[in-house]
């Protein structure tokens, strides 16, 4: 070996010291035996290399960088050859922090993609390559017991969400889920969550629609609006409740709320409104009485009450 660097550690906490040594074997004839071993960090020469010659002629230079403040830096072992500084070996130093504890883990059961999507906050950047893994195992009741583990879910690079496919899940059984973050300086685990995947279902918004002008020809009441709605088709097998919010398009009036409402109706009359006024209506639904997340509010339906 004609210039080989060995390191105490190639990855350290930011600001910690790093010790390196560079060895030049005795049979490196093409190297001037008297020349001094020099160190460079990136492109800056580093003083403080302590050089010694071993009985067998091997030369060793050791250096300690007191505080490594670069998250990434190249340390080179060099030697003067004529008037050019030759690099004999080079290593990459990395500095950062152990992974912070992931938090705000939340999951949703998506009936469109039939997958269970969890997302989390990764916490501050530890400046080191850090792998996140969504881990889970099947359980019972309040998750005191651990049954079969589920295949780990590895998110795409730099993503803080992962989706577990339906085939790995028992929707109506307890599931324990947590996030593990790991890098060269350690591992951290988020708090565990325990739930039935189906209880975290989030439906797509319902669809609102206008009615044909009153078929019997009866004059429309000026303070009422008629419309119909139906909750999201793929969720019709679920018992649900919905709620309606409406407000005049103009002016500052806040939303008025009508709740609870059934998951669909072919004909709904909303009264107590101002005549000759344009209203904006939106609805959302949720699995009920069994647990679930409210859907987002539907796109607006715009209707106008008739003149008095």
């Amino acid at each position: 070996e004609c210039g080989h660097i060995s390191l105490s550690d190639s990855i350290v906490r930011l600001g910690d010291p790093v010790t390196a040594s560079c060895v030049i074997g005795q049979n490196c004839n093409h190297l001037d035996p008297e020349s001094e071993i020099l160190w460079k960090l990136e492109s800056e020469l580093q003083p403080g290399g302590r050089q010694q010659r071993l009985p067998d002629g091997t030369r060793v230079s050791t250096i300690t960088l007191p505080h490594l403040n670069h998250t990434q830096a190249r340390l080179s072992c060099c030697i003067l050859w004529g008037n050019s500084l030759q690099i004999l070996d080079q290593v990459e130093l990395q500095a950062g922090y152990p992974p912070p504890t992931p938090y705000n883990l939340s999951c949703l059961m998506n009936l469109t993609t039939n997958s269970f999507i969890c997302q989390w906050e990764p916490g501050p950047d530890p400046h080191l390559p850090t792998n996140f893994t969504l881990k889970s195992f099947k359980s019972r009741g309040k998750c005191q017991t651990q049954e079969e583990p589920i295949q780990e879910c590895v998110p795409e690079a730099r993503q803080s969400h992962c989706s577990i496919q339906r085939k790995h899940l028992l929707l109506y059984q307890s599931l324990v889920v947590w996030v593990q973050a790991e890098n060269a300086l350690g591992t951290s685990l988020s708090p565990q969550m325990c739930f039935h995947p189906i209880d975290l279902v989030k439906l797509e918004p319902p669809t609102l629609g206008t009615l044909d002008p009153s078929p019997e020809g009866a004059p429309a009441q000026p303070d009422c609006l008629c419309f119909h709605w139906e909750s999201w088709k793929p969720s019709l097998y679920m018992e649900q409740k919905c709620e309606l919010r409406y407000q005049p398009q103009l002016g500052e009036a806040s939303w008025a709320l009508v709740t609870p409402l059934p998951s669909r109706t072919l004909h709904h009359k909303l009264c107590g409104l101002l005549p000759a006024t344009a209203y904006t209506l939106q609805m959302r639904c949720t699995r009920w009485p069994l647990p679930g997340h409210w859907s987002d509010w539907s796109p607006s339906l715009e209707l106008k009450t008739t003149e008095r």
Binding site: C2, H4, L31, L88, D89
Partner: protein, 174 residues
């Protein structure tokens, strides 16, 4: 009797060779840029000693100098050199993901050029039997050595091609 300069080398062959040299030099320059950008290894002159200990050879083109031009020997050295660089470039495989596409393309173009010369020598009936000697296989004990090896090989290849270009232009003169 030795072939007179360009006396029997088809013009299209020489034009193709000149084109291939320009392509390989362009590929080589991209490789040097990538190695510099990715690994901050931008100066082959600071890696000369390392090159000695790694045993990175340079391919001779002595028969191609204008004073002592021997067309068949020159073609043979050109082919031998390209064959050597094919081996050196192969040893650099896995250098780093950012550099791999450039390295693969460079290898393909060098191999294309070597085969083009070999087949022309066969067509002229002056091809040596068997392939040229491969030379010692480069081995690296660290990622740095492989990256530094890449810088040195790319630099040596550029000067080899510079010489090749000069002689091919001389041969292509009408």
């Amino acid at each position: 009797t030795p072939l007179g300069p360009a006396s029997s080398l088809p013009p299209s062959f020489l034009l193709q060779c000149l084109e291939q040299v320009r392509k390989i030099r362009a590929d080589g320059a991209v490789l040097q840029e990538r190695l510099c950008a990715t690994h901050k290894l931008c100066h082959p002159e600071e890696l000369v000693l390392l090159g000695h200990s790694l045993g990175i050879a340079q391919a001779p083109l002595s028969s191609c100098s204008s004073q002592t031009l021997e067309v068949v020997d020159c073609l043979s050295q050109l082919h031998g050199g390209l064959f050597l660089y094919q081996g050196l470039l192969q040893a650099l495989a896995g250098i780093s993901p950012e550099v791999t596409p450039t390295l693969d393309l460079l290898q393909l173009d060098v191999k294309d050029f070597a085969i083009n010369i070999r087949q022309q020598m066969e067509d002229l009936g002056v091809a040596p039997t068997g392939q040229p000697t491969q030379g010692p296989m480069l081995t690296f004990t660290s990622a740095f050595q492989r990256q530094a090896g890449g810088v040195l090989v790319a630099s040596n290849l550029q000067s080899f091609l510079e010489q090749a270009y000069r002689v091919l232009r001389y041969l292509a003169q009408p």
